[in-house]
């Protein structure tokens, strides 16, 4: 029996609808994500524990250096929760963005031989990072409960919105830099620098009020326009502010800037997709 090709129409191979095609091939996307999750730590004794060891060690180092030596632990209430929730947000961003940037080059064997919607790879990198982040969020959440966190729809909504902003932003940037990385491997190193800056240009280690003190109102607005700033603050809002910490105040205009961050992330997604489509015709030749 032949497949029903009386209804099929003549079309150009190798052209598709980009991200829309990705969601039409959810089955393949799910298998790709599962594969990555499965093989990631295969052959290591601690396995998945490694994805917690790194952020926890980082956390411990910063906690000792900033919290104890620089005294933030006494000026910011529940500093461990503050630090850990912000860390979870930027770790999610950095993993999704970094792996998305490498995803096209890493999957060159497939891309050179079979036509697939290539957006699959940056999207699956983001989903793998999400899978990795969920248990970290649970760890922060459990710790927050121990310190007296109580459920509120607004807190949970804030965390979800933060996750959504980072997911969309990192997918867009992953598409953009993943496509550029095919021709210029410099993109990978450039992205590492962006991530390092992003980590310090958002209130993860310190509080936004310190920034507001040192920068004028104009630069403080610019600071808040960095989409990661409201995303991190949404995590703080959900996990940390709920505990009524000393010196705990939400970022001024948090919701407005969260909305702007969401729009920025969507813009990055559209721009990433456009550049990706422009460059993808040459992927198979250049890899």
């Amino acid at each position: 029996m032949t497949a029903d090709n009386s209804v099929a129409i003549l079309r150009e191979p190798g052209t598709g609808l980009g991200l829309i095609d990705v969601f039409q091939r959810r089955h393949l996307l799910a298998l790709l994500v599962r594969k990555e999750v499965q093989i990631r730590y295969r052959g290591s004794v601690l396995g998945w524990m490694w994805s917690y060891v790194k952020p926890l060690v980082q956390f411990a180092v910063f906690f000792v250096a900033l919290g104890l030596f620089l005294g933030l632990n006494s000026s910011i209430g529940f500093y461990p929760i503050y630090l850990l929730s912000g860390f979870t947000a930027v770790t999610f961003f950095s993993e999704a963005f970094q792996n998305g940037t490498r995803s096209i080059v890493d999957n060159s064997a497939l891309i050179k031989k079979i036509y697939l919607p290539r957006e699959l790879f940056p999207v699956s990198s983001m989903l793998v990072a999400t899978v990795n982040t969920i248990p970290q969020i649970i760890v922060v959440w459990v710790l927050a409960i121990i310190f007296g966190w109580s459920f509120s729809p607004l807190a949970v909504g804030a965390i979800l919105l933060g996750v959504i902003i980072i997911a969309i932003l990192s997918t867009g940037l992953g598409l953009l830099f993943g496509a550029i990385n095919v021709a210029f491997r410099d993109a990978q190193s450039f992205v590492e620098i962006i991530i390092m800056c992003a980590m310090w240009a958002s209130p993860v280690m310190y509080q936004w009020s310190m920034v507001a003190q040192h920068l004028g109102p104009v630069w403080f607005t610019v600071y808040r326009l960095n989409p990661l700033t409201p995303a991190v603050e949404l995590f703080h809002y959900g996990f940390w502010l709920d505990l009524n910490p000393t010196s705990g105040e939400p970022l001024p205009d948090l919701w407005l800037f969260s909305l702007i961050a969401l729009l920025t992330a969507l813009t990055a997604l559209v721009a990433g997709q456009l550049v990706f489509r422009k460059l993808e015709g040459r992927f198979a030749q250049e890899l």
Binding site: R11, L28, L31, A183, G281
Partner: protein, 245 residues
């Protein structure tokens, strides 16, 4: 099922040109330095230079030509992996390529997981894969090892499984590039038989191979490429004779 070879074409290749720019630089620094020294950044290579033909549903067509004549480039264009610079290619229905079998296999996954992953890569849904899973494993003849990680397979076992997946996908057009050079003689015969069976079911075949005797019996039509152009298009036996001349 009877096939009408006069029916509408399933593959249209219309004045297709493909140049390869061989890029000499791979970082911004290198590009910058080369630009300053006025060295050429790229060199052009004309792989395909105005190719046109049509393939009707149910045809079996051999693409013939010596190394560098553009056969594999043409096959990649039909599969959609690369796109033409000028002209256009149109296809109808589902296409699957036996191009470098096993490209999507991951050594750390079991045979079973790889079957599902690769079937999905080749465009199969979960249901279609489940329905054909037993058939695929039976064809590969490696049942006892299906839950073993693929990295422990011998190269023969690996090829058998990869081939079995590719050849059981739901498709209308099958693209074959030098696949029958793999596996041992009995397995090659089995694959060839399966390909003939698919052709008998009305699937369209496009074959690239250096095994001229095999392709001239498998395919009725031959398209001979020379220097990126069609040198001959007609019965495969004549095309092979012309090529050997």
């Amino acid at each position: 099922m009877p096939k009408n070879s006069d029916s509408a074409p399933v593959i249209v290749v219309d004045d297709v040109h493909k140049d390869f720019k061989l890029r000499h630089t791979h970082s911004i620094k290198e590009t910058f330095l080369a630009a300053i020294r006025r060295k050429p950044l790229t060199t052009d290579f004309h792989a395909l230079d105005g190719i046109s033909f049509e393939i009707a549903a149910g045809d079996a067509v051999a693409l013939l030509g010596f190394n560098g004549s553009g056969k594999s480039t043409l096959l990649k264009l039909i599969s959609g992996v690369i796109r033409p610079d000028r002209g256009r290619i149109l296809t109808r229905g589902r296409i699957a390529g036996l191009i470098e079998v096993g490209a999507g296999f991951h050594p750390d996954l079991s045979g079973r997981e790889n079957v599902y992953l690769n079937a999905a890569i080749l465009g199969m849904s979960k249901k279609e894969t489940q329905a054909r899973f037993d058939e695929i494993v039976a064809f590969s003849e490696i049942e006892p090892f299906i839950d073993t990680e693929v990295k422990h397979y011998s190269s023969g076992m690996f090829l058998r499984l990869a081939f079995a997946v590719a050849i059981h996908t739901e498709l209308d057009i099958l693209l074959i590039d030098e696949i029958l050079s793999v596996g041992d003689e009995p397995f090659q015969q089995k694959c060839l038989a399966r390909i003939r069976e698919m052709h008998a079911e009305g699937k369209t075949l496009v074959v690239v191979s250096h095994d001229l005797d095999m392709v001239s019996t498998l395919c009725s039509r031959g398209v001979l490429l020379r220097g990126g152009q069609v040198a001959f298009d007609g019965p495969s036996k004549e095309a092979v004779a012309l090529m050997r001349a």
